[in-house]
């Protein structure tokens, strides 16, 4: 994981990896519930630096994170015979959509400038909405290649985006 990526917003917070430093974007109160049975495998994988996502155990279709029954083949999660299995996937994708969030809720957002939120299409077939791993004040272009990296909120490690191609076009306010 590189130390920095993208333009840092004004008055940026300490860099990732410093001992005791919090997440660049959100307060620890927003840490996900890592024991949440729906999502626990994702957080367990993230803690070892991998991205695990759910697939149909029968036909291999990519499932949504909260999906238990495959819509492609109908295999269900019966007791004792899980219909979905979590597999590590390549940390590679592209930007489906992106926004730069200007509104920062006091107490929950610790970044001092606008921050990106990115809808990522992964080569595994899944979609995830994530922010960047390191401080950024830019939204990437749709179609830009990205890698999945990680950030830590509270005690929970979660996937994040590393943008491989910075925006080429600065959008004007008016055409």
């Amino acid at each position: 994981m590189t130390a920095t990526q993208g333009a840092a917003p004004q008055g940026t917070v300490p860099e990732e990896g410093l001992s005791g430093a919090g997440d660049w974007l959100v307060a620890p109160d927003l840490a996900p519930d890592a024991a949440d049975p729906v999502m626990a495998p994702l957080y367990a994988a993230a803690a070892r630096g991998a991205l695990a996502l759910p697939f149909c155990a029968a036909c291999g279709a990519a499932l949504e994170l909260e999906q238990y029954v495959c819509d492609a083949c109908g295999a269900s999660a019966e007791i004792g015979t899980p219909g979905r299995e979590w597999r590590d996937v390549p940390l590679v994708g592209t930007v489906h959509a992106a926004t730069l969030v200007h509104r920062r809720e006091p107490g929950l957002i610790v970044a001092t400038g606008p921050y990106p939120v990115i809808d990522v299409e992964l080569t595994s077939g899944h979609r995830l909405v994530l922010t960047t791993a390191t401080p950024s004040g830019q939204a990437p272009e749709i179609g830009a290649p990205v890698e999945i990296a990680f950030r830590t909120v509270g005690a929970v490690t979660l996937p994040a985006v590393r943008v491989l191609r910075p925006p080429q076009v600065i959008r004007t306010t008016r055409e």
Partner: protein, 386 residues
Amino acid sequence: MSQAPAITGLGMTEMSVTAGPDSYALATEAVAAALADAGLDRGDVDGLLVGSSQGVREDRLGVALARRAGFGDLRLLEHLEIKGATAVAMVTRAVLAIGAGMARTVLCVFADAPIGAGKAAGSTYAQSGGNSGVRGLERASGVLGSVPTFALLASRYLHVSGGSEADLCAVAVAARAWATGSPQAVNRKPLDEDGYYASRMISTPLRVLDCARPVNGAVAVIVSSVRPAGRAAPAIEIRGMGAVHPMRRRRAGGESWFGGGGQAVDDALAMAGTSRDGLDVVELYDPFSIVTLCLLEEYGFCATGQAGKFVRGGGIAPGGELPVNTGGGQLSGFYLQGMTPLAEALRQLRGDGGDRQVPGAQTALVTGIGGRVDHHEALILARAAA
């Protein structure tokens, strides 16, 4: 005299942008107003359907309203939850219950009070959602409230359609132009393009004027097979109903918005025996300007990718060929989910639209959506022939 179910009463509170009564008090006020409008007493009501905003609210409206608002014995009592599609779906449920002989007069009420003392609605939404499931991951990624989610939709839509912020601007300006004629609208000050572009950015490309106007308020409507004698307001018939809940998966290669809504509208039109050309007003669910663009295409009023051009040409504004959200919608009017389009359709069809009345409005399309444009409900309402 028993007849086909129709909407015979409408009650609305003031739409407040400051802290005040809780959602139960607001709902009770709207219920009283609807009963008075319909010329009914509480004892005439044998069905109560309750809807409330999803999310984390201590005073979330529920079936306890029946006791608090002084109702007698009821035959139908239910809290509906289909996300934003709830309010429009309540009318459908009322019609079905009446048609099945399970009730005669059903009161449908929705109330919300996101604005607290010293707390804007935006903070209420940002602090709601919890830390589990996909929502937990997204909230930890900075997705607070629903604006960033719809900003992603807008980002994608403009990319695919080749549109620009000017398309969003045109929706917001048209909504405001309608709102200037509506006493029920919260934001009535005239708005031009400069004013739109000067408004603060919330989440690119959505500015504050691209987002619904939250209020504390309530709306109640009465669906009944009974027509009290001597009433002034005409009964509004429910000619068509349609609903589609498309199970679109968010997967790589798929788009983010299309599907289902057009079928819901087609079904409602078919039941009503009319077509899109037979509609005088369209009242759709517009929590964000981008949703108006998506739904104009989804419902078949514009070809794919052409909604922006249509709206920029004045197509949905006062005087345009397709009057849309004639009370200012949720953007400039007030955000009470599906009650916003429903209440405005009733005003137009009753001829109570005042300065924004669409001349001769006889037939309206009313829609509700829920989630991330995941649930679609549609009604065709019509003023009964004199």
